[in-house]
């Protein structure tokens, strides 16, 4: 059974300067054509793998892009069509990503009716000049209102995204953004360090001489976020994610803990057993193929048991709960020998203040979190 379902909606009403996600400019005609397609894709996937027919995911995550651009009717239609091939009956957590600019009371009500119970609002900053500088199409007030509206319409579990290390953000501005976030009584907060993705406006600006905060600046902004949010009762349960106790995003937790997931839509990725595939970031190709009842263009590969297992276990180091090598050895026979060497490696790193032990589990220290990828490399 596949526990996690992701649906990608590849439309936005503009392009934020830092954004490396796949989306195209919103167009009413295109969105209309798009709504039935994830269901058609699912139908073809199921045809090739009859075992997963009518699976019932525990979590659903609709992201993008901007899912709201499908409109209330479009979203209902998309879900309705999907439920012909899967069951939403066991869904415990259903997240939709929202953009402050496209939030309305009626949309929120429609989402609630569909069964959505968690919202993730892309805020990024509560500073208007900063928002304008990075190509966002809303101001801080709109973000504020979106959060309030969500809470008013009964979305208990509402979270926002912030970006640390945006150009032009002084420590004072960052402090104000964090304080504002805390005042909103959110359940969840993602704080991502800015990264320059190839092909973005930001990448071009950097090439042209835009000065971005260096690693040291970024790390201190992240450290500050951890302190402020910690004060407010948030736990940093993953490198970039904070939650009130019990409010962690179960969808993403499932991915970090190595579960299977199915992704629908252009650019969406899936992990099923030792199979991996990622649809091409190409809406036109996606539409054409499905119109001809063919799976969309994608890259597909089958991993070796070891590579599959390593991928599923090592990213758990990003989590505060860490890794228990003996559990890994039990879960994956092919990693038994390797996991046996981890104990010693973790111990050596502990002497350098990079890892720490909690019972049988190994987790990263504050310093360890700054160099998580390097530690994971040690395990491969």
């Amino acid at each position: 059974m596949i526990p996690h379902l992701y649906i990608h909606v590849p439309f936005c009403d503009g392009k934020c300067h830092y954004c490396g996600f796949y989306s195209v400019l919103n167009d009413a005609h295109l969105t209309g054509l798009y709504t039935p397609l994830p269901s058609k894709e699912l139908e073809l996937v199921v045809k090739a793998r009859p075992k997963i027919a009518r699976f019932s995911p525990r979590t659903v995550y609709m992201g993008g892009g901007t899912p709201a651009l499908l409109g209330e009717a479009g979203l209902s239609r998309l879900i309705e069509r999907l439920s012909e091939h899967l069951s939403f009956a066991s869904v415990e957590e259903w997240t939709v990503e929202l953009n402050p600019a496209s939030v309305s009371r009626s949309l929120l009500n429609a989402l609630r009716k569909l069964g959505v119970n968690r919202l993730s609002i892309g805020v990024q900053s509560f500073n208007d000049a900063t928002l304008a500088r990075i190509g966002r199409r809303h101001d801080a007030r709109a973000a504020d209102q979106a959060v309030h509206l969500a809470q008013e319409t009964g979305f208990e579990n509402t979270g926002i995204d912030l970006i640390a290390g945006l150009p032009g953000v002084t420590p004072a501005i960052w402090q104000a953004t964090l304080e504002h976030a805390v005042s909103l009584k959110l359940k969840h907060l993602s704080v991502y360090a800015l990264s320059v993705e190839p092909g973005t406006v930001l990448a071009r600006q950097k090439e042209e001489g835009l000065v971005l905060p260096d690693d040291g600046d970024q790390l201190s902004a992240l450290k500050h976020a951890e302190a402020v949010l910690g004060q407010a009762g948030f736990e940093r349960y993953e490198i970039s994610n904070y939650a009130q106790p019990g409010q962690e995003c179960r969808h993403n937790l499932g991915i970090w803990r190595g579960n299977d997931y199915l992704g629908l839509g252009p650019a969406a990725a899936s992990r099923l057993g030792d199979a991996r595939w990622t649809n091409d970031p190409d809406v036109a190709g996606y539409m054409d193929s499905l119109a001809q009842k063919q799976l969309p263009p994608r890259t597909f590969e089958t991993l070796t048991p070891t590579d599959d297992a390593l991928e599923r276990v090592t990213f758990a180091l990003r989590l505060a709960e860490g890794i228990d090598p003996s559990v890994v050895a039990q879960r994956f026979a092919c990693l038994r020998d390797r996991a046996a060497t981890w104990e010693e490696r973790f111990e050596r790193l502990m002497r350098h203040g990079i890892t720490e032990r909690g019972g049988r589990r190994w987790r990263l220290t504050a310093r360890g979190r700054e160099i998580c990828d390097a530690v994971i490399r040690e395990l491969l």
Binding site: H4, Y6, S190, Y192, A193, L194, S195, D215, G216, Q218, L219, I239, S240, N252, I255, W256, Y261, G263, A267, A268, A269, R271, R276, T278, L303, D307, L310, E311, T314, F315, R318, R348, L349, H352, G353, I354, R369, E370, I371, C372, D373, A374, V375, I376, R377, L380
Partner: protein, 605 residues
């Protein structure tokens, strides 16, 4: 064609590095139509890829050609192009053993340089007729009058009819060919029917034909089927092929007195052939040895290790194969705590070391690490035993050592007068002694110095070149041993000794050298997850330290479902990149770190 002795000329081309020997050989090959023009490429005689790429000659190359002179007679020329670099001087002296004359090429823009002097002396010792030529007269910076005077005054060669040439354009080359006929004497022999005697001046190995011996026939002649004897080694064989170089090996029916050519018998192991030996016929041969050559001994030693331990056998095979054609280097297995199994190799000098290592890398596709070059120290132990030390790691406990002696060289440095102060400073700084200075002409001086060999191994030559804007040149030869205050310096990475970096230094130089090595390592070892101290120690005393700061940040900000597989692959790839580095304790050391220490970059002098 029957060749009368009178019509044979055996000569070599000698010069300082880059003065144009190989280019001149090209022109002579063209002028004598030995190679058809359309098959001609530049630096024809530099056959090895490495020689062509670097534009240096490493091996001597003999070639035989026919030349029809102005007097209407056809002559057989046996020409040997020689290397100019000091490391390969032995190649030059061997070639001279096969010749009656030498064309001495002097770059008219550079003038007389160290190897010009050294090679001229060699030629005089070998009783060769010297034909001096001024090359590169096409260059605007050529100074014919001055260089002519230098040749007369410094080398003592009369320049009544100076030959002015450009090996590049071919200007003056016909005159050289005539001068060879007129001024170089034909070979003398006791006769073609006299007991056979030939001098072995080189050998190469061919996987199909075995050992190919290069000889100069002095008396008698060789034919296929003859049984021959190598007089001093006692080795015998029956000839399957005899031939000349034209310029590739070309079989001939008979190789006669006065000729330069090659012999192929049934010998498979180059070690069975001694360069400088005399070949004669097995029956009724001559017992009279021809004068041989001084034996060459490696002077510079370094450990050569495969990056991947699985490649050990490949390195052995590579060394064995190269050794077949270059007996001048030595090797024997050794092991290092840090580097595993490898070989201690002995070389004639740094260029020779570089060349052998580079050939191993390319021709055998090996990733190699080589340790700090070292020399042979002579140890006198308290219990009376004497030890030759070629690897610092094997130094006995200091309490057992009575004294350490280090090798010394006699160096001849030629430089412009205005930088004599700087050059002397460098020599003194390297613990050297200037024995004499003499002016070469109005603008240049010649310094005779004594220097410890280990002091010129690292960037000495570069320093000389830089203070003299490229005009200083140096030649040297070994000159015994001297007692010296030499200590072993260790390098610690993250608190652990890395034996591969241990080296012997003079006590007075240890701190500077230690700092330099720590700095070079700190600059080339990439940052790790944690701070890595790099320390230099003598015994227990730390004499220098640098820290490699850890990297600040290495973490993907956002890991969502779409990214997991791609990211994992990336991490794996990065990990594989690291695997190509050597791991000491927890420190990954790239090959470039070994090179930077070797080169002595990051000087803080």
């Amino acid at each position: 064609m029957e060749q009368t002795l009178d019509s044979i000329r055996n000569f070599c081309i000698i010069a300082h590095i880059d003065h144009g020997k190989t280019t001149l050989s090209d022109r002579i090959l063209e002028a004598t139509k030995t190679i058809e023009l359309r098959n001609m490429r530049e630096q024809t005689l530099d056959a090895m890829d490495l020689e062509r790429e670097r534009g240096i000659t490493i091996k001597s190359h003999p070639v035989s050609m026919a030349y029809t002179a102005k007097n209407g007679k056809t002559y057989r020329f046996n020409l040997i192009d020689t290397p100019g670099h000091v490391d390969f001087t032995y190649e030059v002296s061997r070639s001279m053993g096969a010749c009656e004359g030498a064309i001495l090429v002097v770059d008219a823009a550079q003038g007389v340089e160290a190897q010009t002097v050294a090679n001229t002396y060699l030629a005089v010792e070998n009783n060769l007729e010297i034909v001096p030529v001024l090359n590169k007269v096409d260059l605007p910076s050529a100074n014919v009058a001055e260089v002519t005077q230098q040749i007369e005054e410094v080398l003592g060669i009369p320049m009544d009819h100076p030959l002015l040439i450009s090996a590049k354009t071919g200007l003056g080359v016909p005159e050289i060919l005539e001068a060879v006929v007129e001024r170089i004497r034909p070979p003398v022999t006791r006769g073609r029917d006299a007991p056979l005697r030939a001098l072995v001046f080189d050998s190469v190995f061919d996987i199909y034909r075995g050992v190919i011996t290069y000889v100069r026939v002095v008396d008698g002649s060789f034919r296929v089927g003859d049984s021959i004897l190598f007089v001093s080694s006692g080795q015998t064989t029956q000839l399957r092929e005899v031939g000349i170089f034209s310029p590739d090996q070309k079989p001939v029916e008979v190789l006669e007195a006065g000729q330069v050519g090659y012999l192929v018998g049934t010998i498979r192991d180059p070690a069975d052939i001694k360069i400088g030996d005399t070949v004669t016929s097995l029956k009724d041969g001559s017992t009279e040895l021809l004068p041989g050559f001084k034996e060459v001994r490696p002077m510079v030693f370094s450990g050569v290790y495969p990056v991947s331990t699985d490649d050990y056998e490949k390195v052995r095979t590579g060394l064995e194969k190269l050794h077949l054609n270059d007996s001048a280097f030595s090797f024997h297995p050794e092991s290092s705590v840090a580097l595993g199994f490898g070989f201690r190799c002995g070389f004639l000098g740094l260029l020779h070391m570089e060349v052998v290592q580079e050939r191993l890398r390319r021709e055998f596709d090996l990733d190699l690490i080589s340790t700090h070059p070292s020399v042979i120290y002579k140890l006198q132990l308290r219990d009376g035993t004497a030890v030759d030390l070629d690897n610092p790691v094997h130094l006995p406990d200091v309490s057992r050592i009575e004294q350490i002696e280090e090798p010394v060289i006699k160096a001849t440095i030629i430089c412009p007068s205005e930088c004599i102060g700087d050059v002397m400073r460098i020599v003194l700084d390297r613990r050297g002694e200037v024995k004499a200075t003499e002016s070469l002409d109005a603008k240049r001086v010649i310094l005779s110095c004594l220097l410890p060999l280990n002091e010129i191994l690292i960037d000495f030559h570069d320093m000389l070149k830089s203070v003299s804007h490229g005009y200083a040149s140096m030649d040297y030869e070994p000159c015994g041993y001297q007692v010296s205050d030499i200590v072993k310096m260790d390098i610690l990475l993250n608190g652990e000794v890395v034996d591969a970096f241990s080296c012997m230094v003079h006590r007075g130089k240890a701190v500077a050298r230690g700092r330099q090595m720590c700095k070079a390592l700190a600059e080339t070892i990439p940052p790790h997850m944690f701070k890595i101290p790099v320390q230099a120690t003598i015994g227990r005393t730390i004499i220098a330290r640098e820290d490699i700061r850890p990297f600040r940040k290495d973490v993907l900000a956002k890991l969502y479902g779409g990214d997991v597989t791609r990211k994992q692959k990336l991490l794996k790839k990065q990990k594989a990149g690291k695997a190509r580095m050597k791991e000491f304790g927890q420190v990954h050391v790239p090959q470039s770190a070994f090179i930077s220490v070797l080169k002595g970059t990051a000087t803080d002098e």
